[in-house]
């Protein structure tokens, strides 16, 4: 997968925003007592804070597009490829 092969539609971006909210800052965090990374893990996590802020904005925009016509059904959002 390369960057330029992923064409995202508005719907894809909505589910991608949801996906990023799950994978970026959740999960078990390991502290610096192991040899981690090509850089210090704390520095990387500082960087992830920026990702999360940017992604939230993306999510808001996508959600605004997606839900212009809301209905009472419960949409189950899944990212592309999820069965």
């Amino acid at each position: 997968m390369t960057d330029d092969t992923l064409e995202l539609t508005g719907d894809d971006r909505l589910v991608l925003g949801d996906l990023l909210n799950h994978v970026l800052d959740k999960g078990i965090v390991i502290s610096g007592d192991v040899t981690i990374s090509v850089a210090d893990i704390d520095l990387i996590r500082v960087g992830l804070g920026i990702y999360i802020t940017a992604i939230q904005s993306e999510l808001d925009h996508a959600a605004a597009r997606e839900h212009a016509t809301p209905d009472a059904d419960v949409p189950v959002l899944r990212h592309p490829g999820r069965v």
Partner: protein, 257 residues
Amino acid sequence: MRPGAPITRAPLGLDESAVTLEQNSGRSVAALVSRVDASVYTTDVMESHASDVDWVGPRAVAHDAVLSWANESGGVVPFPMFTLFASTESVRAMLREREAALDDLLARVAPCQEWTVRLFRLDDRAAAALGLTSPAIAELAERARAAAPGQRYLIERKADELRGVELRRVSAESAREAFDALAALGERAVRDALPAAPSGARPAGVAVLDASFLVRRDRADSFRAAAGELAAKLEPRGLRVELSGPWPPYHFVRDDA
């Protein structure tokens, strides 16, 4: 994951690399690993892509695809994206040091999936519903209709203020009701902080609940049905329910979850 997981069936990992299972002989936990180019995953490069969804997106999809497969193939304890180790020996050292905690976590989450529920208030609809359900607001609206123009303005301002208070109260009550009802069907539940309300028009509604639930696989159908019932119940109040999943247990592997 557990050692011996059917790794050859796993999807490709980060940057289309094959995923391997790193483990120490005779131990109870193993790590799913993608090998990446160290020159690409430096702090500088990663931060330069900080707001670049097209760079992060495919990597997030790959990360989640592997974890979703793992969660349905025996269970997994998710690490966040970009948890990087300098060598496979570092990975194995981490596994040795954390074996007991990882073993407990894996036993706890393996029978489960994570589901996320968000609740949004659609202000126009919610306000209209309040006019029907709140006697005080209905009465003010009636008085405004009957009043002279100058007085009508003041009454309408008062009604707006009361409506705002009532909207927040109804939202908070509904969020609590939804959370409690769904939490009863799960093993664990957690509420995330709500995002700051976006400026300008908000056709998607104001987020009033963002919660994740750890649900046993054999109760997933019941959970989804309950979410559907909640949606039907809350829709007349101007509230919309959004469900996503199943996810690996991202929210439920920290000490505080």
